[in-house]
Symmetry: C2
Subunit: 526 residues, 2 copies
Amino acid sequence: MNGFAHYLTQSLHRAVRQTPERLATIDGPRRKSWQEIGLDVSRLAGVFRALGLEPGDRVGLLAQNHDTFLIYFFATWWAGGVINPVNIRWTPAEMAFSLTDCETRILIVDGKHADLVPELRRLAPCLEHILALDWAGDGVTDYRWAISSTPPAIEHLRSGDDLAAVLYTGGTTGRSKGVMLSHRALTASSLGYVGRAGCSIGPVILHTAPLFHVGAISGMISGWLSGSTHAFVPAFEPEAVLQTLQEAHVSDVFLVPTMIQAILDHPNLNKFDLRALRKILYGAAPITPALMDRITRRFPQCGFAQAYGMTELAPVVTLLSPDDHRSGTGEKSRLRSVGRPTAVVEVRIADADDGEVPPGTPGEIQVRGETVMTGYWNRPEETAAALRGGWMHTGDVGAMDNDGYISIVDRLKDMIITGGENVFSVEVEGALASHPEVSQCAVIGRSDQRWGERVHAVVVRVQGSDVGGEALSEHCRSLIAGFKIPRSYEFVDSLPLSAAGKVLKQGLRDGPTVAGSTPKFEPDRK
Amino acid sequence: MNGFAHYLTQSLHRAVRQTPERLATIDGPRRKSWQEIGLDVSRLAGVFRALGLEPGDRVGLLAQNHDTFLIYFFATWWAGGVINPVNIRWTPAEMAFSLTDCETRILIVDGKHADLVPELRRLAPCLEHILALDWAGDGVTDYRWAISSTPPAIEHLRSGDDLAAVLYTGGTTGRSKGVMLSHRALTASSLGYVGRAGCSIGPVILHTAPLFHVGAISGMISGWLSGSTHAFVPAFEPEAVLQTLQEAHVSDVFLVPTMIQAILDHPNLNKFDLRALRKILYGAAPITPALMDRITRRFPQCGFAQAYGMTELAPVVTLLSPDDHRSGTGEKSRLRSVGRPTAVVEVRIADADDGEVPPGTPGEIQVRGETVMTGYWNRPEETAAALRGGWMHTGDVGAMDNDGYISIVDRLKDMIITGGENVFSVEVEGALASHPEVSQCAVIGRSDQRWGERVHAVVVRVQGSDVGGEALSEHCRSLIAGFKIPRSYEFVDSLPLSAAGKVLKQGLRDGPTVAGSTPKFEPDRK
């Protein structure tokens, strides 16, 4: 290692040394001190080493949110490994692709996902060792038995530019890509977050968003840097979240706008004592002024912060701070922006030739700084393209005002954000197009009161076909995750095409430019 | 460069791009926007390149605090150089030693120090180019003429582990040492500072402490990370500081306890409008509970923070935050501690064999993390000793309590802190011992109401001599800086010695263990 580059386990060392008795994790009735976590970490690292983990090897975790996430992160790094948490919303085929792509040999699986193990083993032969977190089965190793019977490992210190994570993200080409993030990039992103006035994490942070996702991981690292206690809920469920906010005296929570809506709409909201809550971070999708007004009135003691970022940037790029939110919702409001770049990145707005454009002019958002990914796993060409000229090309279109605030104008990458999840149109289009009765299709986001955006498909059927949305959704179900399946359909005779023959999606988004189109069907979200 | 390691000029890029019209600097009536600063920086960098600066070369500045410091820092890095600001409190011989030791060829000098130039040239022949900031003379280049007649330079980007600064600090062996700090170390230290709750810098920071010192440099970097405006006073003078606090609407200021005392004692204090003030950072010496009470009562809207650190750690190690200060001055008060380690360092308390000691036990404070120096300039052996085992050995003795708060117990290095300045006994002892009528001597700190500690000498005269303190101080004046000269003397027949023949200073500190000793003389501080 480089003697003094940043190592993500530093926060563990700090906590075990400085506050061994303080609570590290709260997961339902289970509470662990930093001292206990330290022991679990060094033992789980011992298990990984005993299973043959070499420095730089990837370790997976397939689980709902759980205090084991914290132990797994630290233990993987303690052993010299690289985290590769699995997106639980994916199909087994998608999961297997990511595990195979980066040759993950050790995977921890919780009871909720035990039934996927046989199929994953079949689709991802690289999986050599399954650690069963809270279940039993053939050919799997009991997690608790393993850590209680293995001596603690000596730390294999990796740091700085050393690889810390491979996180899979949807790609514009339809296949997901492994984003490589170093110890430095993940640390810098969180330092940029806690370094903004009013954004450091308070005594207790609750993890509601899924912890395989870079945003939640970054939130956890921010909590480590702030010396916080970490509370967990298995998944976002309003009643359980409210219960935990109260019982764990949660000070900081991340919620996407649809979660905020669900909490505000909860009939028993006022029965909970939520006075410990001090900061609500939201992101992944814009918030409406009406919703902002409601949440501000309900939680007057809270600061609000919005983050904009992407996996490739570890992920935080800009922050709209609590002070910015206090500017209100009037004419001069900052609420339509995603805020200003953090202290660890430099952001420019550039045209197609990477030339900088004047303030107020839309262009691609490009970023450089310590948070930039090392690259895409095993994809040197896509890496070079994304990082050309030393800048990460986000593919998002934005404009910067005269005070440095950035507004997102559009997405070059044609991504739909539905309930906080990213869906890439091209992947859904691929699934739809594989149906024999689909001639052409275009998938876009339509604004939706509940989900922010919903996945909407515009389809040209093959001559004579009368296939409907229900059949097309059924067809997609075996190919892509539930949240990616179109929730509404339009059937048209033709799609608007550019001179180059590309579908003009902007025309579809703007409204009914396609004659005779009518929404036909809206299946339930899986 | 490594594509994405941190570069200190990032903050300049961010400010020029995001807020070109916003005020960057306020120095008396002179105010500059970030756009103007950006142009000055690229032009001064052009001057450095025209004078033959190569990447990695050192550039010096010998000046009172001035907005040129900010331009000089950025321009040196923009040109690929390394800052080597000169301690203005040193004698010309001490200055020349530091300039010669690290072969600084370009030096900017302000009018206040113009008269030192001939002697510096004689003592430091490495000096090839003198840029005269606001004066004229033979063989010097006019600073303003140079930057107005030189085209802007293209940035030579250096970052991460690349050297950013060589800062000279007093050494235990009497000679000062050049501490090498990288772009990463200086950035990390400031990120650790602004990342602590309540510590990010507000709209305007005033630089009162001398900007050749790592603490003030770090304060400026923290201001850059927070997007603040920088206000300057030439030196600490209570009336000028109060005037600037009011006129520049200063929100953040660093003051050592003696400065706080001077401000509180100022007869016109209440005539100034200081409502913009939000945070007072103090450090370099402990504060008394009585003084803390006074300042808190006078500035109830302010948060208070204390930092402990050292040049070798770029410099911040621990912070006593505004929240910690709110714990009050009672039994459970944290005010006797220097707070907890920042989020970018790991601190351990170790015995003489580098073994960790239990909480509450005093031992050497050792630190690792991104802020650790690269080493001492051209001193590989002292570097290896200071950094052995991957930890910076601070030489300070401290204890950590069960909540991670650290109290400083003593100083291994035998250093006296007087009015916020570090004085190493061994250097003063060397000066005294060179007087022909001094047989033996020991220099210690004695507690002093005004200076925190004063330099106190215990002297054994040669037989038959009756030399006095006045003559000894006069002798020292040509050898060491004014603040290092003893302010009181005791004359004794012998010094208490250990079995190994070393002076037992602890005995001298404890009080009159030496029979017949009487303070004789207390010269005015220069």
